[in-house]
Every structure is written in structure tokens, then in C-alpha cells.
Amino acid sequence: MKTKYDPTDWITHMARIRDAQDQTAFAELFQYFAPRVKAFLMRSGADATLAEECTQEVMATLWQKAHLFDASRASVATWVFTIARNRKIDALRKQRRPEPEDLVWGPEEEPDQADVLSLQQESEQLGRALAALPEKQRELIEKAYFGDLSHSEIAEQTGLPLGTIKSRIRLALDRLRHAMK
């Protein structure tokens, strides 16, 4: 079983890194996420040495990009995942990862706390839904994410209940667009 923790705590950790370069907060994040990133990279085909090296870079990037983390659109775990995924494409597949244009909060404004809270709750619910999926279906999704399936092999109907979390993120995006005007 995974260690019990409160995901909104990680958000506070991120803020401490962003605002005060807090190494204690970073050490705690590192302790929890680094071994998971390493496992993800090894399952994606990296050997232990490469995975170790890439994980250190992923965690350093997390520190470096702390100001870009938006808790109304992603949990910290999700954000760590996207950094690890990009490192995987770069180091394992030796390809560039084109990124979309993004909407970013300015220095003056922050996302709504209610949006942050509901997004974190949706993320937890998604985690539970994923764990409750039938074994076969879950395996397919893992294969898709750990790199064994091509896009044409991914079934259109994944059976993932993504409707609610998508609507939450969409709402947060609309607010961000409004704030940018």
C-alpha cells in the first residue's frame, strides 16, 4: 500500500519551494516522488543507471519550474508525471517534445482556492477509479502509459471516468483566460 499523505500538502510544499527555495520541503517531495519517477522510467525501458540520472534531472526541473505549477489544473503527482514523461521522450526516445502554447498565471494573480481544492479531490477520485478498474482494463492503460502500445492500439473507449475532472480543468482554464484579459 502507498504511504498515506494529503495531496494538498504537496501543493504547500511546491509553494515553499517557489517562494522560499525551501530545501526541507523539496527533500520531502524528493523522498516521495523520486523513487516513483525512477520506477516509471525503468518500466519505460531505462536501465537503473539512466533512470537514476534522469530522475535527478526530473526532480531538479521540478525545483526550477516550481513557479509554473498551477494547482487548479494538476495535482503535484500529475505535474511530476509530465516532467518525467518529457525527460523520457528526450532521453529514451531521443526526440524533441513539442509543447503547446500555454496559459500562465501572472505574478499578480493566483488560481481560486475552491478550484484548487476541487481539482485535488477529482484527482484523488480518479486514482480510486483507476484502482477499481477490472485488471485487464487497467493493464491496457498501464501499457499505454508505459510505452508498449501505439496510438492506433489504444482503444477509443478506455472506460476511464474523465468527464468530471475535464470539466473542472475547463472551468479553471476559462477563469484563467478571463483573468488574462
Partner: protein
């Protein structure tokens, strides 16, 4: 761009999120998402699946001294500075920022190559498992009838085109596979600029374009 009607499929978004698409498809997905908040939100929900899987993965222990090494990476400046994220260009440019990266500038930097009937193309450099190019189709011009061996994604950046299935305007992406043979025609109002990615060579149904195909890599 809030009028997008034709979106990325779930399987493409999931593969983009997982990082398993060919580079050319990654680029067209990034370009579409730059123009479409609906797919941006859908992508973020697929990223959440990745986050949830990451948490559930059995952890693998880090080496001794790993944290100190990471702090050294941060403080020594050995880590390349993270590239600044692409800020939203809010429609001032025809090419979304990720495409500008591959062109090396905006529309005026594109090195066009004529492929007949006023149609021009510019192949962008990506990994070889798929290819991607910009297409310029003069208003009212038809691109020859063609089928596809693999998958072809076409994103409209300016103007519009119409084919047997529907009309595609700015931000719309058409996803064509082996079942579709179509003759896209650029809308009469404006010259059409598209981004087209494919994981196999196109197949033309008329003799001349088929002979020309190897030369033009179309």
C-alpha cells in the same frame, strides 16, 4: 479559438499524454491544443491518469547521495535552464508557437516548395517514424484525390477546406485513415494554410501525382 468543431481523438490525446506518439504527431497535437481549450482540458485529464499511475507504481529506491547530487545539479547551474513555456500568442500569428519552433520563425520564414497548381509545401524536420509539412493551398484549389495507407492528421491554420466529410476551419483537425479517400478543396474566401502529419506516404488516385510523388515526398 473557441469555434473549433473537429478535435483530437481520445486515443491520440492519451498517446500524446503518455509520450508515445511519433514526433510529427506530437507537433500537430501541440499545435491543435494551442488553439483549442477543450482539448487542452482533455489532455490535462489524461495527464492526471499519468499522475495517478505514477503514484501507484511500485517505487524503486534511489542511490545513496541522490538528493545531495540533485541539489548540486540545482545550485551548480549544470542543469540547462528550463526553456520558457510558450505563452499564448492569442491569434497574432498564423503559426502556433510549437510550429514556429520547427520553422525557425513565423510564416515569412517558411521555405516553400511548389508542387503544382499553386499548391506549396514545406516539410518540417522530425524523426522519421512519421512526417509533417505545412501546406499552402490557394483559395478554391483542390488537392488531388488521395487515399491514405496510414493515418493522416490535417490541422487548418488559416482559411478553410471542404471535403466529402465536412468543412474544416481554423483550429479544426481532420483525422483520416485508410477508409477515407478524399479531395480537399480550399475554401474560396482565403488561401488555406494547413499542417499535415502522416505516418505513411499519401496515395494518390491519379496517374500524374502518383509519378510525381517520390520526387515531392508528398
Amino acid at each position: 479559438m473557441q469555434n473549433v468543431k473537429h478535435h483530437l481523438t481520445d486515443s491520440l490525446l492519451m498517446a500524446y499524454s503518455a509520450g508515445t506518439l511519433p514526433e510529427a504527431f506530437n507537433l500537430i497535437a501541440a499545435a491543435h491544443i494551442s488553439l483549442c481549450d477543450e482539448c487542452r482540458a482533455r489532455l490535462a485529464s489524461f495527464d492526471s491518469v499519468g499522475g495517478a499511475l505514477l503514484e501507484e507504481t511500485d517505487a524503486v529506491g534511489m542511490e545513496d547521495g541522490s538528493f545531495a547530487e540533485t541539489m548540486r545539479l540545482i545550485t551548480s547551474g549544470a542543469l540547462a535552464p528550463a526553456p520558457a513555456p510558450h505563452r499564448l500568442s492569442s491569434g497574432k500569428s498564423v503559426l502556433p508557437a510549437p510550429v514556429r519552433d520547427y520553422v525557425g520563425g513565423d510564416l515569412d520564414s517558411v521555405k516553400w516548395q511548389s508542387i503544382g497548381m499553386g499548391v506549396k509545401q514545406s516539410i518540417l524536420p522530425t524523426s522519421k517514424d512519421a512526417s509533417i509539412r505545412l501546406l499552402f493551398i490557394p483559395a478554391g484549389t483542390a488537392v488531388p484525390d488521395h487515399g491514405h495507407r496510414g493515418m493522416e492528421l490535417t490541422l487548418v491554420l488559416q482559411g478553410a477546406f471542404v471535403d466529402e466529410t465536412d468543412r474544416f476551419g481554423p483550429g479544426d483537425i481532420e483525422i483520416a485513415n485508410e477508409d477515407l479517400t478524399h479531395t480537399p478543396i480550399a475554401d474560396i474566401g482565403e488561401d488555406c494554410i494547413c499542417l499535415a502529419a502522416t505516418d505513411a506516404p499519401l496515395r494518390f488516385n491519379k496517374l500524374i501525382p502518383r509519378i510525381a510523388q517520390p520526387f515531392f515526398r508528398i
